[in-house]
Subunit: 280 residues, 4 copies
């Protein structure tokens, strides 16, 4: 209902026009060119990550290592050019550079250059997979973004409870780990306290590799206690997240506000305001 | 309250009568013959699957392999005839052929024929177990179907959240798997990135086989982080499903409709319609 | 508000009086003698189970096996006498004999007699631990019984959903177990389909012993799928039980009924009926 | 709205003044000196625990064992002096000595002295980590304390249900452990009933080390049953805690009190008191 004043765009030199055009293609996905760019980007990312994965397989590396290396460098140079273009065509390059995607974009090209100095660091290139998160923007998966936001909101709301829970878990790990270290000793694989804490975490989280195992009756009794504890307290984070999800869901459905008293928090199917009786 | 016009059934030739009778027996379970057919079918399926299982046991195969093979072929021919009869007696054979049960019925006979070409493929015959799902129709287990529908509805409603969650899990697996691959290397069993992802999934899901194990302190530290992460984020799908089950249950209890405005979705203890104020 | 007629007890012979007195002692816990009997019984049960456990330890059996055997027979004869007395002093012995505790009481003495024929069956004596459930009656742990009933009620209410869930799990185990059997084969430990189902259950339930392990890339991929599935669908029973516990709790607090309209289901802190406005 | 009478502090001798000043520093965290003391204390605790951990690592112990021992004794003497000062400057020393933190403070220094008699007991010094809980007071993490209280309240409210659940789990472990002991016997690692119970707990809690494994088909079948049981009943504590967290949260949000009848427990969106009808 508001009127936008008819404003003439400020006259732009050619460079600015190209920059604007680049920005539309690279950062937006509403034009055909922008969508094509993003789809090509996602395809390139997936392909480059796949090449890194395949390159880690011994026999494939032996046969196609050179090819993989050239593809890797190809993608790295491509992504480097893209990164520079992003810096060039955006209004405030620094803000982009320190944003989540800006850092991910940088981290996605650095390992290849780093591998010249430190062989092996190219496997960190798999961080490129994080760039794929842009897929949600391209495919206009608004509902998925909404659901993801709901999950993130619930996790953020339960942030403090989860930190308290992790603090309690860490305390239990230190206490019970030290106890079992004292009882079992090095001959059972508990060579130092850190191994004992590793064992306590493996047991408490119900993972149970079986690489370090108690052998004395007392050690097994303590382990049984840790197992029951771990089996029981998994209920705590689960309960926290369930309650928060239920809470944030309740908030989600109540976005309607009363035209009379502007109260919010109505059921999504209510026809009348429950506070003043006005028709919604 | 509506009147059905007295209509004479169109005169049918004998073949059509047989087809109709077959359809009643094979596809329905309301007549004694239909019920008997379905019970016999379920019994045959269970027996045939049991034979496949027993045939896989070395000593039994050595002693009774020939007998098992003949039983298997017997059931396969029986089910093939049944499949053809189903195609013959139904109105639109193509629709049945591409339906869930149509495909399962076909997949339940194909492996035996396939085992002539590819030995071993007869173990796929266990897919016949899916045919057992028909049991709910035969035994009129309506309440179980209702409960199953409730579960399916809740899972379908939480579909998007679960996909987002799986996407997040996959990202974590790629990032942490690559990290631990870099730290541990081939001598600890992390021979390539795919093994590292397998390890990350084994750890994150708290399965913990113990076939691949970190041996360096840094690798153990990263593993501890993955374990605590996996132990904690299991809360997310649990919370999602809990909330959806509670939601869909709420919908379930509101089957009362207003006699005035025929609106539905009232609380089960409401005395007046919340949309028009009429007494319920 | 009803009046009980003053009735004279029917004259009883001496035997009946003893039977009545025995019943008060053995089956009830309100008199000092009855309470003493029950406490002595619980102590005897715990001691006899402990003796069975200690007898299973090799070195202890070597040194004290004869002593343990005599104690075991002593307790068995004691419990046999008690069982016969229970049968004698109760009104309807058959009803007791087929009740839960009647069967447990019988099963608690049978294994010792059976061990004369089948050595080793005395370890089944540990079923005596079930007799301890009587402890709740003796110690008047009414609140614990109430909580236990709440849990049992919630589990019973979610009975059908849990059966449907187990049916789905069994189907998945058969399908995925057969698939991995076909892929891995005997050399990886999947010697027959039953081993493959055992593996599938070990993986799906996130137990992960690591005694049978996939070794082919395809087998590992299928295993990863089963793990993620098991990690995810644990949300289903958890959600079911959470919702049922919340439901039955809700029923628990709403036992107040309106004196005017006799409506039920009020909040526990409501002062006025929410349907007719009458004071509660 | 109440008036505190202007009271002159009773004249204190110098010793009492020092005691008062010490109390402010040691037990409180509102003055700069008190805050500095607490921060220094937390730093000392973390450092001393780290030293104990590092001392347990073989190579480090070989090289720096003497240094670690001296640091350990230094911290122990420091904490001993601090403990004595706490006893001296508090009004009722006995009450502090038997309080949670009083006992933890004592247990934090005892192991070093004990290690003179029993070598190895110094690893119990890691109990010092419990002293860190004071961090919440120092850093004024009121919100975290609130969240922790919420969790503790929910766990306390579900106390009885969890005890009933643990009782049921213990009964299952005894029954199924005895059964599998009878089926498998010593050759599979089930050397006595306690080992079998250890196995049953490892399986039921879905930890699954794989150190003891069933080898007979019947033993594997029983194990599968225990696994499915453990996978399913984890839903019970989770459901209990979820419901209690939701309940106690509901109490939390109702801090508004009626200005007329001062009743509490209103829904957070209520406009009128549900007990007397006054506007909130």
């Amino acid at each position: 209902m508001t009127l936008k004043p008819h404003s003439q765009p400020a006259p732009r030199p050619e460079a600015a026009a190209i920059r604007h055009r680049l920005h539309t293609i690279i950062f937006e996905a509403d034009t055909p060119a922008g969508k094509l760019f993003d789809l090509g980007l996602i395809f390139s990312i997936l392909l480059s990550v796949l090449v890194v994965m395949l390159d880690s397989v011994g026999p494939l590396h032996a046969d196609y290592g050179g090819l993989f290396l050239r593809i890797e460098w190809g993608f790295t140079i491509l992504f480097s050019v893209e990164y520079l273009l992003r810096l060039l065509c955006i209004g405030r390059p620094l803000k982009y550079a320190v944003s989540f995607f800006g850092i991910v974009d940088l981290l996605s090209i650095l390992p290849t250059y780093l591998s010249l100095l430190l062989p092996g660091s190219q496997y960190l290139l798999t961080i490129r997979i994080l760039r794929i998160l842009r897929i949600f923007r391209v495919l206009k998966l608004a509902q998925y973004v909404g659901e993801a936001n709901h999950l993130v909101r619930a996790l953020r709301a339960s942030r403090r409870k989860i930190i308290v829970f992790l603090f309690a878990v860490a305390t239990m790990v230190v206490i019970f780990g030290s106890l079992i270290y004292l009882v079992e000793g090095p001959e059972a694989g508990f060579t130092n306290l850190f191994e004992a804490y590793y064992y306590a975490i493996v047991t408490l989280s119900t993972v149970g590799y079986g690489d370090i195992i108690p052998i004395t009756p007392l050690g097994k009794a303590i382990s049984c206690f840790i197992m029951i504890l771990g089996y029981g307290i998994i209920a705590v984070p689960t309960g926290i997240v369930s309650v928060e999800l239920a809470q944030t869901r309740k908030l989600e459905v109540s976005t309607q506000s009363c035209p009379e008293c502007s109260a919010e928090g109505h059921d999504s199917d209510a026809a009348f305001c429950k506070y003043c009786g006005a028709q919604l």
